[in-house]
């Protein structure tokens, strides 16, 4: 991790090799026999530093692990491996009891303002509860500080809100109250988990503005977790793009938005609907959806959706199934039936593998399957999957498919950013060249 070294005194939070895995509850049968159903790598080997006074954006889609990362950082979810250092103090392996004192200095604002306030407590009780928990203020002082916090977040005059219940407030007002509760102890770090995504357009700007003002006034450090690149662009100094638990690109906002490197970042930026009637919805979008984190793709997690993926990106059996199915969706029923009957069972392809057999349909031979595969290859030569094919050999009843071994991408510095993509990895490019030569 030498690439990440930086002046230590400016670092508020330092994350190194952080992994958070959730174990899966298996099926009823698996639980009966006491077998582990495997785990989801929600956060998979993430390292970064958060500097004092900066706003770092963690941007990702659902399943990217951004929320889990934020929770792990605060010790709300136990880390599986790696360390989080807060103000020089290692917190990943602290007990809940020891963490409690630390919570004064790090706070979180949740996505859903309607659910993050206790419906049975008044605004005064909710916002002031941290003062009671940490035995900081009571009586008149308590009331004064709660009023002060409410007025700081724009809920003024505070008297109007103290006795209200969350259900009496609008979404924006609730989110203000949640922010008031988070800042009442004057923390150093504020983790904001999608703080505006459930609010209306005209309210979002107000909440973001409030958060920016608070930052200026109190020098907070923010970790801004979001799926929305537009608000992140406005709000953040630095951005980390997450995909399936890994940081795929990280750098200063300007670099990320003006010159995105990773194909995923590029796709995300293209996909945002802009209020510009001269644009129309883009057609060249990555296909498919974020895969299941319980069994992520081999190699680079993004390769099945990437239009520029090549030899080393991690091609595997599941990609062949996807390729066949995408093709079949476009064929007429008769054409589909013809091709479908040539190939046998495709379910075995679901077990990820780089060397496997594609069975022939009943009454068909390996040669028929190979001919079909070659036809498909001829018709869709631009399909990146074919780059990953090392050898196709027809046998009696099946085709032996051999793919190139996947390389796992590395997060490498590139200009002012870091990118985890083989396209920018010299070694990977070279290896790909060798492999290409091999198939010719």
């Amino acid at each position: 991790m030498s690439a990440l070294e930086s002046p230590q005194e400016d670092v508020l939070v330092s994350v190194r090799g952080l992994k958070t895995y959730y174990s899966l509850r298996g099926s009823f049968g698996q639980r009966l026999v006491g077998r582990e159903a495997g785990h989801v790598k929600a956060v998979d080997d993430v390292s970064f530093d958060l500097y004092r006074g900066e706003v770092l954006g963690l941007v990702g889609e659902s399943g990217s692990g951004k929320t889990t990362l934020g929770r792990t950082l605060l010790g709300l979810v136990p880390a599986t491996e790696g360390t989080v250092t807060f103000e020089g103090e290692e917190i990943t392996h602290k007990s809940e009891r020891d963490l409690r004192a630390l919570r004064r200095r790090m706070q979180i604002v949740f996505q859903d303002p309607h659910a993050s306030l206790n419906p049975a407590m008044t605004i005064e009780q909710s916002v002031g509860h941290p003062l009671t928990i940490h035995r900081i203020a009571r009586g008149g002082e308590y009331r004064r500080r709660v009023s002060e916090a409410l007025e700081t977040v724009g809920l003024a005059p505070a008297e109007q809100f103290l006795d209200k219940y969350p259900s009496d407030l609008s979404g924006g007002q609730k989110q203000r109250a949640v922010i008031a509760r988070a800042i009442i102890l004057n923390p150093l770090l504020l983790v904001a988990d999608e703080p505006v995504s459930m609010l209306d357009m005209s309210v979002r700007a107000k909440i973001l503005e409030l958060m920016l003002n608070l930052k200026r006034e109190f020098r907070f450090t923010y970790l801004y977790i979001t799926h929305d690149l537009a608000t992140a662009k406005f709000f953040c100094d630095r951005i980390a793009i997450l995909y399936l638990g890994r940081i795929v690109e990280m750098g200063p906002s300007a670099a990320i938005y003006d010159d995105p490197k990773h194909p995923y970042t590029k796709a995300l930026l293209r996909a945002i609907p802009e209020p510009d009637p001269l644009r129309s919805v883009p057609r060249d979008l990555p296909r498919g959806e974020v895969p299941d984190a319980a069994s992520p793709p081999l190699g680079c997690s993004f390769h099945p959706r990437c239009s520029v993926a090549f030899e080393v990106c991690g091609w595997e059996s599941r990609d062949l199934r996807d390729l066949l199915e995408i093709r079949w969706a476009q064929l007429s029923e008769a054409e589909f039936e013809a091709e479908r009957s040539t190939i046998g069972d495709i379910v075995p392809l679901d077990a990820p593998s780089t060397s496997f057999r594609l069975a022939a349909g009943s009454g068909r031979e390996g040669g028929d399957v190979l001919t079909l595969l070659e036809t498909i290859r001829r018709e869709t030569p631009d399909e990146p999957f074919w780059k990953g094919v090392r050898k196709l050999t027809a046998a009696d009843r099946y085709v032996e498919v051999e793919l190139f071994t996947p390389l796992v991408p590395r997060l490498l510095p590139l200009g002012s950013s870091q990118v985890e993509c083989h396209l920018y990895d010299h070694d990977a490019l070279q290896e790909a060249g060798n492999r290409r030569a091999e198939t010719l």
Binding site: M201, A271, E274, L285, E289, W328, A329
Partner: protein
């Protein structure tokens, strides 16, 4: 389809909610119309009101004309016959609309056979697979259950289920809100292509101005139960005529945003909406007339119309009505 002076009111204990209050709208064949507004402005109610899908305790009047028939006065049975083959609806959360115990195949068979009982199984299968294929769902997954599909796939299935009956008009209520941005764009692509692929008109209800701008031909902006501006997407977005449209566009955070902007105040409650123009308490251009008299719809160049005194009719404005309204400071407390 043309909607004339449609009103939908809900009764609640606190009073009558005027969710849709005098809305007129035309949707041409094969057209993509965007209906945009903030939450609580009545846009979803309007979408359901058009199809006659209103909950108990709601009352509606006005006209929803489809092929010369008025849907508002139609019986439930007649409406049910229209829904499906003529008018389709796509909801926000696809999972709640698919029966978890039924295979995709059965969903299609049930829908098709309900409306076209004469179809045989082969034909059902052919038509379902064809529609699904166009949505990008492979035929190999025809016999799977809803839970085996991802969120985007389910929404594709829902769209396919609506389209398999070849409706003339599809109403999509926030069809992409629960989806990731790339999948959202994929779905929008499908919806924007409906006209070429199926000849279906689309009413796209959303709060996202970006979606409307990219996917729609025309756009209607809704505020507090009324349509305040309607016109071609290009015109409305490049030179908004209504102050609300302009302010909403300015407060939208996009990649080009360099300065945050917001509309003061909060959307009014629809039980007792403000007098005169419903936007006047938040409008930076409000004049004295806006407080007292409700604006009269004005047609602008082309097919545009706007509900704002700034565009007249001048004859209706009293002499002292033109002066700018003094803005009193709105406390944050009153806002969202």
């Amino acid at each position: 389809m043309s909607v004339r002076a449609l009103r939908v009111y809900y009764g609640t204990l606190r009073g009558t909610v005027r969710a849709v209050d005098g809305v007129s709208l035309d949707i041409g064949a094969g057209e993509v119309l965007g209906l945009v507004g903030e939450s609580g402005c009545g846009k979803s109610t309007l979408g359901r009101g058009i199809l006659g899908l209103l909950p108990e305790g709601a009352a509606s009047d006005g006209e929803v004309l489809y092929n010369g028939q008025n849907l508002v006065t139609m019986s439930d049975k007649e409406l049910r016959g229209l829904r499906g083959p003529e008018l389709g609806l796509i909801f926000q959360e696809p999972m709640t609309r698919l029966n978890p115990l039924m295979r995709i195949e059965e969903h299609f068979a049930e829908t098709l056979k309900q409306h076209e009982p004469s179809l045989d199984n082969r034909e059902v299968r052919r038509r379902s697979l064809e529609t699904l294929g166009r949505m990008g769902i492979p035929p190999t997954r025809f016999r799977q259950y809803p839970h085996e599909f991802s969120g985007g796939m389910r929404q594709r299935i829902m769209i396919a289920l609506a389209l398999v009956l070849r409706p003339k008009l599809l109403i999509a209520d926030e069809p992409t809100t629960s989806l990731d941005v790339i999948v959202e764009a994929q779905i929008l692509r499908i919806l924007a292509d409906l006209r070429e692929d199926f000849g279906t008109a689309l009413l796209l209800i959303t709060h996202n101005l970006g979606i409307v701008a990219e996917a729609c031909d025309r756009v209607a902006v809704m505020y507090a139960g009324q349509i305040v501006e309607e016109g071609s997407a290009r015109q409305v977005f490049s030179e908004p005529a209504h102050p609300y449209t302009r302010e909403l566009l300015r407060s939208t955070i996009s990649l080009d945003t360099t300065k945050l902007h917001s509309i003061p105040g909060a959307p009014p409650n629809l039980i007792a909406p403000p007098s005169g123009c419903r936007f006047h308490p938040r409008c930076p251009d409000a004049m004295h007339v806006c407080v007292t008299k409700a604006p009269i719809e004005q047609a602008l160049d082309g097919s545009r119309r706007v509900l704002c005194w700034l565009h007249g009719p001048a004859g209706e404005v009293p002499d002292d009505g033109w002066s700018q309204l003094e803005r009193q400071q709105i406390a944050v407390a009153e806002e969202a």
